[in-house]
Symmetry: C2
Subunit: 342 residues, 2 copies
Amino acid sequence: MSKLLILAEGYLADPHHGKTTRGVVNYGQNEVVTIVDSTFDGTDFQGIPVSATIAAALVHGPDTALIGVAPTGGKLPSEFRVQVLEAIEAGRDVEAGMHEFMADDPELSARANARSVELRDLRRPPDDLSVPTGANLEHAADVVLTVGSDCAIGKMTIALELHRTAQNQGRASVFVPTGQTGIAIAGWGIAVDAVVADYIAGASERLVLEGASQGDLLWIEGQGSLIHPLYSGVTLGLYHGSMPHHLVLCHRAGDLRIDGWPVHTIPPLSELVEIYERAALPARPATVAAIALNTSRLDEQAARVAIEEAEAETGLVAGDPFRFGSDRLVEAVGTAIETRKA
Amino acid sequence: MSKLLILAEGYLADPHHGKTTRGVVNYGQNEVVTIVDSTFDGTDFQGIPVSATIAAALVHGPDTALIGVAPTGGKLPSEFRVQVLEAIEAGRDVEAGMHEFMADDPELSARANARSVELRDLRRPPDDLSVPTGANLEHAADVVLTVGSDCAIGKMTIALELHRTAQNQGRASVFVPTGQTGIAIAGWGIAVDAVVADYIAGASERLVLEGASQGDLLWIEGQGSLIHPLYSGVTLGLYHGSMPHHLVLCHRAGDLRIDGWPVHTIPPLSELVEIYERAALPARPATVAAIALNTSRLDEQAARVAIEEAEAETGLVAGDPFRFGSDRLVEAVGTAIETRKA
């Protein structure tokens, strides 16, 4: 177990780029002892003290610094470089999930060597990846993949919530991490967006087989969206490599356009259900078992209405696990599994 | 201009794994002076003498050895390693399109240094790639992407054939290479299957912008298939990154299953048309302008019947450019462009 200092300068309040921070605080196996974001100095985040500087953060006793932001494109923002160097100088290990690896940076690796600290690049893929073998169709586990209308709307956290609920119900449930935050949370996994493009499906197959060795109900952390103009390739490779039996479709209620890309519209939920079900390969049909609505931008009454409307439009069970619990969604997935096996 | 020796040991007669050899012989800008494949020693391939060994091949005066096979997964087959070392020892540059880079191999790079020869890894991506900028929707060129039912059925050669025909008609036509063979042929490009998965679309956008600076009718070399269990992620990332206006759907007549994966079926052509058109983003709808049928496994009468049936099933112009010429397909693409702009 590590004691984490999370570097989140300027991003603590940002639900998109700060999603690593939120995920690790809420679901991680390691204790977060402090968060560095000078714009929130002196406050706390879910009970965790926020510090303005690395020096001030050290009094909380962290042994590891984790970069808690997920910038577009995956490069280390320059403002974080100084803080990473300070953490190294203070003898703390550093974890990061960038596409640019810290260990490949001559200055960072030299300083880390000099201080005998470890630089852990969570997105560095295993060096023996290849294409799928076909074993993704042959294990015994039930596979559920979270998919969605956009990035950063809750695909990972929905998978974690449904996994937790299923685990509390006594199921041999496994959360399967496919991105840097999931890896930081669960302590294993492969960032499928960081592998050689030809190996997306192969990496996804490997994760499913590892999951199937741990349990019989797998919740695969989804990535991107089939309708996202930047990341759809990763989404489809993960889909076909993990060969899910069922999907949980995640959407932020009210969103009509891809975040940051107003030219790219999001179709209605019923059409999204069809797009995702049609994208399954004939050898492994997949059904959307439930809709997970992120209602964080609505008041409670509007949230209930949005959920009712989603159910009426799609004929599926819908819900917001963060607001109203996960039981109905997990039950809907269980029903879909039983129906398939009947 | 190089004088090429192509290494194709055991694969010269294999239309799938030998596709690099065929592409470079038929479309490449460099002269191929000999091909090494001991199983065809003493014969010729389209007039090019075949040699049994590197030593025997050197009499034909090559200055560069090109690995002419495309193995699944992209790793250098061990039987080629000996030949690569012999070519280096003989002072020849070596080009290869594997995912494993020659220049990163300590033995190969040390031997190449000692002999002052160059190792060119055609699949090594530029080191400044990132996600798309949105400029793929803003240039003035007409973009045509070849898509298909499977790998290695002719998506690259169809793009090359239609490009040639359009060029002969006086159009400012550009072939846009997206894979190692296309790069070996055209002398530029990025192997989009070899980039970091998050950057597939970004690399594809960059290729389209480069193409749009060279001409106004772009033929994008397609990769994989949306229904391929190994490579579909690359296919969708290339699709959404290149933002084509029109598609040419390639299929090998008679194929009902993905090559090598009998569990994965190929749907009817009309359904493939729908799958590909539905996969376009709303901001850039794409239509299938024509069907390119590979009829190489049929006799001439059966080929004509297959083409007629494809036209009847889809309502689109169909043809086999290798057997019956490209004019009708290029005309159909031209009509699609005019209809769109009308």
